[in-house]
Symmetry: D2
Subunit: 282 residues, 4 copies
């Protein structure tokens, strides 16, 4: 399957302002890029790339005063398969977890593990370990929280999501991640593209999505407490402990976001054209 | 049934300090006092009494520098019957609630109704109205929160109790009250004596207890989300919106509490002795 | 001075919904009403009045499904004098405060006295007691918090205002009240009309205002941490411990506020016209 | 100067429990170890070492049921010089900061930058940039917060420290770090040994200390908002975004800490004894 991805943002700045973007496809998917996801700006600006401590590609630039457009359009190859479901993926004992997964057991900005420890153990202490426990957490979060863009708030933490029962995809992810960590299951936050492929189109305009990954049975698996069904065509951009690590843009000064468009579409190859090609070949 | 009640506190003050006490039996039970609950102090101090806006008896005094003992010992007549259970007590529509109950639908210091509105309706919106709904709230709170004196905290609110799942009797009451109010059932906070009458003795030293009342079917009924069983021998001292209204003592300056003893015991009249008395009379 | 006051609200309800309004001029000002502030509704509805535990006039009604207009238009006589300034008003020792003022020393929904105790004593412990201490608190709050309607939030407490430094008039009042109470100065919350009389007109549309009163030198004095200058023409509607006690409307069900207009204008009697009238009479 | 460092902890476990320790001297000081800081346990256990994403040495072990002692005793060479003071160290523009410092501008578990942004700019927006601004932040935090071990709390964040004005060294560090980050100065958290060298001995038993580093003038400088004077003999163990990254021990299960002793002492070499030794040799 081929998926077209892209975005187009327009900012307005009152003064020259440094920015950091995390808007490239993650290195782990870079090999799938048929047409690369070069970030372009209007006006044209010098961009500097680096990778952060989590392996995410970051782009630095200094926005000039006035309007700045940032956009990309790329083509990605994808298996077309839904998120892997592995009910037998077992939960590791803490002592056998790889060193690099341990950081994903700790508390972080939006995931106050120590505050939700009682909640997690009371709710999930008797569920079967491993995959079923993570699925039970997703089922709980999916049922507990109602989605609504009007509920987005930059300071909302997992403990607040439990109380308010309202949020956006990042809030679903933060709550599920926190509960997994409390149960000693490493969990990390992901941002990326997720279009309406194989599902009814959503009425809301497309945005980037947030989901999470847990470490079970020796590898990371994708979970999505908001949608809570396996989905096709996730294109991950960044991974971290929570949203504080992977903001799609960090702006060091005041600004106005004037336009924000994200696109993710399956490329439907038209049979007629293929027919024509075949005849030519013949 | 006759119940002996009393307390004995010793404070230490570094300077003369004003205090307000809410340590008398509530006016609604004053008629049951066989031996009155006069508050005495060592050293002997002038005491001033008044009633607050909720009808509670308050006592003002100025503690001198040094140690201050405050104590009482009284005898109360009680029906000996457990808390009334009235499964048919119906829930009033808001428009038919008496004016004076409306204040018990609003938010207060430890009962953030607007923060727990979603939680309340998600959990109890489908339970049958009236008594069963309040009982469902008590069952939830009783199962959700674990009791422990080490979890007491002067600033803990109902929203924090939901998250932390730990608390003392006041926290059980605050959470249950908040959920009732969210469901439009007037609920008010009570403090008073509650001894181990008709139940196995508790290992912890006796303290005052907190419970709550709801307005159903035209009157106030007692509920106790901590114990969650009808109990015998509650002697109410004060009622209010929450613990902020009915602190047993409010001290306007630093102090150390050196001794804190509360007593509630059924007076067991020994038949043998009575027999002896009768014979003498004969 | 004569002041025209009035409001006009339009709500939309999806179902019949009980409401409580606190929209009448307070009883303490009722004697100044030249034209009474009758509350009217469209459609015409039966209204029930009562006074709450703080002496505020409350109006109950059941809104029908659909649109509901609520309005009044009244004329009030006013001294035309600015808020009293009494720099010598002394602070009472706690032990000499009248009983009924003590409740205004306690914590309440939006005024977490125990959380701000350290802050209050660190900032104001060395200011002169009484009026200068309250003025110091107002000066601090006025400088610390920046006004903006976009910063309004139903759950914002005094402790949050300290951190966020942004708010509306109610937040200024809550913070100042909390700090006064921490310093053992009784402080209560007021809502009412406050027009642009004797001051440059504000660009924002008129709303009700919130301010507060403190008990010094044997009476209550008006303070206003938001404007922080004596103002002319306050018409108080309700007083309470904080905004939780005196919501201008409490609605027990979902609704949409479609129109919200408040008016407060000095009646300028035009000499020319009066002259004309007199001549006609002559 | 030579400094003896060491610790001795005794835990009690109810079941075999995995642990992660960050108790080694940081790699950047490892070259100064005259006698190495080997971690030993009683009973003797297999230990696994790794470095986390911040370059800290971590030690994994599985505590058996029952008592576990963990201890070390080492000897470190130190310059004997106090923390560097560089009033001319300039503040970098964000666009010229090295990539790897940017993570220390973001929010983290205990450092809610977005919540304290207004506070930071209101207080420090007019202070001179660079070293004086960081010093102004330390002066503020040092004066604002009162130290006390009884104020330690695992969940206390920078925003809570501002309100409560009470805390331990970690709270001083969190608040100062958060304010620096809000002002676009990279700041990171440090834990390690800090004895009473060159200062009057503290009455409290020795504990590990927490301080922070800021990036100015092309390098990291040490600041300590708690003590707020240059100190001799800091031996850093771990660095991270905040305390969530560098807990000295993380225990995945219930336990009791029965003994906790930390030692840091300057080795005073006695001339007389050395003389004696030399004579013997002769």
């Amino acid at each position: 399957m081929k998926i077209r991805i892209g975005f187009e943002f327009v900012y307005d700045f009152v003064a020259p302002t440094p920015m950091v973007l995390m808007l490239n496809v993650h290195l782990s998917r870079a090999g799938d890029l048929i047409k690369p996801d070069l970030i372009r700006t209007t006006p044209l600006l010098p961009l500097t790339r680096y990778t952060d401590g989590f392996g995410n590609i970051c782009t630095r630039l200094t926005a000039p005063k006035g309007e700045l457009g940032i956009f990309t359009a790329a083509l990605v190859s994808d298996t077309g398969l839904p998120d892997v479901v592995a009910p037998d993926a077992r939960q590791h004992e803490v002592h056998e977890l790889p060193h690099e997964t341990l950081v994903y057991l700790l508390g972080s900005r939006y995931c106050e593990t120590e505050r939700l420890m009682n909640e997690a153990w009371a709710r999930f202490g008797k569920t079967p370990q491993g995959w079923p426990r993570v699925q039970a957490i997703c089922d709980f979060v999916h049922a507990h929280v109602r989605f609504g863009y009007q509920h987005a708030r930059a300071t909302k933490t997992a403990a607040e999501v439990v109380i308010e029962r309202r949020g956006v995809c990042r809030d679903f992810a933060h709550l599920a991640i926190t509960l997994c960590r409390c149960m000693n299951i490493p969990a990390r936050y992901c941002t990326g593209y997720l279009g309406d492929i194989g599902v009814p189109p959503e009425p809301d305009p497309m945005d980037f999505s947030a989901w999470f990954e847990v470490y079970l049975g020796g590898r990371w698996y994708t979970f999505d407490a908001r949608h809570n069904v396996p989905r096709i065509g996730r294109i991950v951009m960044a991974r971290g402990r929570d949203a504080a690590d992977v903001a799609i843009s960090t702006t060091f000064g005041p600004n106005t976001l004037k336009r924000f468009v994200v696109r993710t579409d399956e490329v439907v190859e038209e049979p007629a054209q293929l027919d024509l090609l075949e005849r030519k070949v013949a």
